[in-house]
Symmetry: C2
Subunit: 484 residues, 2 copies
């Protein structure tokens, strides 16, 4: 861009822990792995680890710190992803802040149709909406397709993402079988198994059962993705006072122990498997037992998590548009903005649940999805930094206008205001009286108009009928093979 | 605090401009002062500057860069303030993030009584509310006392702050006479003129009439405060495309030129006068001409302003709980949270309008005041950082709980959850169904209950009857002397 020279990208990331503190947290994490160990409730995972000298009585595995750190060193620092459309390729790493919509919600809601159980139809709408809102990565299971049989809905949700978007995505994969099914579909859609092993098309999320348990479903999914070379996002799910202690330092040591053990297991399966160091820690409101993911503890844990990920040279998944508010009110936006800032400042490479998360993740909100996408766009503009070239300095304009005049009609203003001043369809600057005369619309209502507009403007990426037929045949075959 | 060792304070501040960019901005600012100059529409100010060799034709003053930088060097890097109660002393500097409520609003609003013109009664309520909410610094004129005669309302609003709080404050002082009246009242309340000259009791805000004009009212107020040694907050009021160009680099050079000229003038009046380098830049929505102070441009300008203030060794006033939303909805909270993060990250020492600002500052909102105060409290907790001592690491607890159990009943949780998990009266974590059964209260409604509770719990700091009488007699004397 002419004149747009010497822009400094807003690459912080914030360093909130000292080296001494990082050492203390890591030291305790490795001691946990060695002395307490993790339970690994998956026979083949235990066998593989035992073959590498990592074992313990029964389902316990005691992990040698040297082994863990050696395995971690095999995971790449950057991850390339390609979508069904190769032009939708992404690279995670270096604070890439790639955002994906919320996922795992049993409910969805919008102000026109209310709060309701998720359906496959709602899932497809949310996929189209996230695609139209410009989110570069999608998520299967943005809302649960509760109207479909459990045995096949993971296939139908992954298909919904593959059909209505052409971007990389997070597969539903909440068990070994579902993960393998998702990989098969992706291979069909993206040029075959060998192609997606070269450049992954999807990512998978595994949450250890904190504290310190790898259950059969999660360990199995991890194995499936690692074998196929698809990136694994290893995210301990830490709730202060429930699955983790109430102190950040202890929770962080648990996070490191769990995340490193999962990533080490993935490397043992296939060295070089792309893995993300994931962070999810929230305070809990002890009055209700409810999580409080917009709390200061969650912000601090997100910042610290980024530093830990960098210590291990791993891409980082942290933060999100998280809140515990039940509606899209001032609280929802405050908590969400806190957490999106935390994501940006922590140097997050991938932000899951960046848009649409409401009610502690139990509801995928159409309105919140578009509002959050706008907040992400604002942070992206902030991350671009400030250009200080001749055109931006505008010496001649300043000199010509001089003391006491206005820049309203100056050529510099006319030439640049559209490009250089952020305009939001959701946040028009409007004085009180005209705003009231127009109906006194609140932001949640404005967001209703916005998601309707985005769905109307949604451009179907299309799909080759032969490929579509092959995907549907694969789904039918996998459905027949499903247990029950 | 035992075990709370090795906490790292969250002192970033973010550096968003390179040295080369800072040089370019400063270079243009000094060139503006030299070649274009400022208009100074105050005869005595021009005389003082002329005596120091700074003059130009008519009301213009061309400023020598060496003179400006020499004067700036006389301003202190830290500012001590004392309230009516010496225990309420504050120090500004080093990223102190001292927050004050909104000010200058013609309207006030709450959900019980609606939006209405300000009155002296509403002003006193807002003072009590800001005091009860724990804001360490008050502001006279939080809402305009429109029911009182213009000639004396500044006295009554300053009295309202002095009577219902005992903390340092920003005086109303929108002209030379009003500034002098405010100083007289503060001297009566805080031990006499000599005492407040030693340790200031109030601060004053001056906004040059951008671009590049020091009008009579503002230059006069600046002179009055400087003569009395009271801190002057010099804040160019920059609206992109109106009072400033639409590019950040040009606006920043204008900000530096205006702020440095005002601070140099204050030092010329009285060397060592405490001055704050102030920042206020917002994008403008060219569709309506309305300012957009929660925009990415405003965030970037706030961050850059902090870096510039540090370059000159000056305490920084930046950011605020700013928004252009007309009601306390998701948009208001998103914009506000963006700007409060900007304030914290920029290393702001003083944050004006941190709480209660609605509708581009035209309305002081009771609900928003208490909600914003809660956001400030959250950021303060984030700034405390993470403690990594033995008690926080909780080795024995982690070891004892082991894989698969819960921390709910562990002693460590019971001992620390109240202290270590942030609890907000406004943001309880409550599941959807009980929340709905309780009435489905949105955050703005919860804030209504909160401000009512805070006003009920407000503890009157009291005032010695003799002092109160003296203040009232001073007001009567100054009122009689008022023109008209």
């Amino acid at each position: 861009m002419p004149g747009r020279c010497s822009v400094r990208p807003f690459v912080l990331p914030v360093e909130i822990l000292t080296e001494e503190q990082l050492d203390a947290i890591e030291g305790q994490a490795l001691r946990l792995l060695e002395e307490v160990g993790t339970r690994v409730a998956h026979a083949r995972a235990r066998d593989v680890l035992a073959a590498h000298g990592q074992s313990g009585p029964g389902e316990l595995v005691h992990w040698d710190r040297g082994f863990v750190l050696e395995q971690i060193g095999k995971a790449p620092a950057r991850i390339a992803l390609r979508g069904r459309n190769p032009e939708r390729a992404l690279e995670l790493g270096g604070g890439s802040l790639v955002c994906a919509p919320t996922g795992g919600a049993p409910f969805c809601s919008d102000l026109e149709r209310g709060r309701r159980e998720g359906t496959l139809g709602a899932h497809a709408e949310l996929v189209r909406l996230a695609h139209a809102a410009g989110l570069p990565c999608l998520q299967s299971g943005t809302v649960e397709a509760s109207d479909r049989p459990v045995a096949i809905r993971h296939l139908e949700m992954d298909y919904s993402v593959l059909r209505f978007s052409d971007r990389p995505y997070v597969s539903y994969g909440t068990s070994e079988r579902r993960a393998r099914d998702g990989i098969e579909l992706a291979a069909v859609a993206c040029g075959g198994r060998a192609a997606i092993e070269r450049t992954p098309a999807l990512m998978g999320v595994v949450n250890p059962n904190s504290p310190l348990v790898w259950d059969e479903a999660m360990a199995g999914a991890l194995l499936a993705w690692a074998e196929a070379g698809q990136p694994v996002i290893v995210t301990p799910f830490l709730l202060a006072g429930l699955t983790a202690p109430v102190s950040l330092a202890a929770a962080l040591s648990l996070q490191v122990a769990e995340a490193l053990s999962g990533i080490a297991l993935a490397q043992t399966i296939r060295a070089g498997t792309p893995c993300l160091f994931g962070s999810f820690f929230t305070g809990v409101d002890m009055r209700s037992g409810g999580p409080a993911p917009g709390s200061p503890e969650a912000v601090l844990a997100t910042l610290a998590g980024g530093q830990l990920a960098r210590r291990y040279g791993l891409p980082y998944r942290g933060g999100g548009g998280l809140c515990s508010a039940n509606v899209l009110d001032a609280r929802a936006a405050a908590e969400t903005t806190m957490m999106l800032w935390a994501a940006a400042l922590s140097g997050s490479d991938f932000v899951l649940h960046a848009a649409g998360w409401l009610e502690n993740g139990l509801t995928a909100s159409f309105e919140k999805l578009v509002l959050d996408a706008e907040l992400v766009r604002m942070l992206e503009r902030v991350r671009e930094g400030i250009g200080v070239g001749a055109e931006e300095l505008a010496w001649e304009t300043l000199r010509a206008v001089g003391p006491g005049a206005t820049f309203l009609a100056s050529e510099h203003t006319l030439a640049h205001h559209r490009e250089w001043l952020f305009r939001s369809p959701l946040f028009p600057a409007e004085a009180y009286e005209p705003w009231l005369a127009r109906g006194g619309e609140t932001a949640d209502r404005a967001a209703t108009a916005r998601w309707r507009e985005l769905l109307e403007r949604y451009e179907d990426p299309g799909i080759d009928p032969a490929l579509d037929g092959e995907l549907k045949a694969t789904i039918a075959r996998l459905a027949r093979a499903a247990p029950g």
